[in-house]
Amino acid sequence: MARSNKPIVWSLFAAGGTFAAFVTPAMIVVTGLALSFGLLPPEALSYERLSGLIENPIAKGIVFLTVFLPAWHAAHRLRITAHDFGIREDGLVMMVCYGLASVATVMAVYALLSL
């Protein structure tokens, strides 16, 4: 039997799952909750500060991973979920799921490079 090519998408799925479990909640707390609940001063996430931060290539990289990895994780998860629900059009499901993840990836790259 030929060895499968699935490691390509599965590695993104696994990395995305780990990232989404450990880093995404922290991102949500910082960007979504901390400010609203007054745990951070209002100017902490001001436009000037954040646009300054994002000029740093490391910060760009982290923001890219925040979009890229969970997007591919979600894409693969949805493909498997579709299969578990009995949808057997794997080719079509693959195109839709991985296509959306590709769009998210390209948009993230474009947005970050144009900042």
């Binding site: 499968s4 590695s11 696994a14 578990d84």
Partner: protein, 247 residues
Amino acid sequence: MSLRTFELEIMRYDPDKDSEPRFETFSVPCEEDWVVLDAVNYVKDNLDRTLSYRWSCHMAVCGSCGMMINGEPSLSCKTFMRHMPDKIRIEPLANFPIERDLVVVMDDFMDKLASVKPYLVAKEKKAVEDGSYLQSPAQLKKFKQYTLCINCTLCYSACPQYALGEGFVGPAALALAHRYNLDSRDVGRSARADVVASNEGIWECSFVGACSEVCPEHVDPAGAIQQTKIASTLDYFKDLITPGRDK
């Protein structure tokens, strides 16, 4: 001890007479400490001697008495009657062809088991007088859990992926492949990968996890498959970077 009477609805199939399986109901007075296998044995001994099923050890070691008990793949020797409702439906293990009554055809499982080379592939063959292959307790601990499989095939009955009949190698065989891959004395990992890392191998698993839930020996085949996915993914990228590194 108190007797309680149960209705056993047992699936029957005689390939010489029946065009399809049917159910037959038996009333069985059970003792407090009986397991389902005792009740089935009662039917065979007292009510219908033609009832066919597999069993041997009566103590969850041999792995032969697996049946669907109220829709759940279970070892009938490990399922107590006192935990059961008054009416019990007993069927042959799901996802396998029925040979007769509760006996299923296991050929597909046997072929798949053999296909993953579930034995020690040693680096060099040692003569008996040269002694055994030594291993530390820490090295044994890495894979010991996966040696506990008794080949009862409950995991194949529970697996929705195996049920599709698309050639999935299946939980027990893949867990056993993982057991030998983790063994410090073994060098067969790349030989096993032809089956294990194929589309019909670990990659067919969608991690539903039902195999681990029904496993009577707590082998956790789902966990073994996920660990194999990580190892195979690393192998895949290593092979891309340095083609032919195994050869």
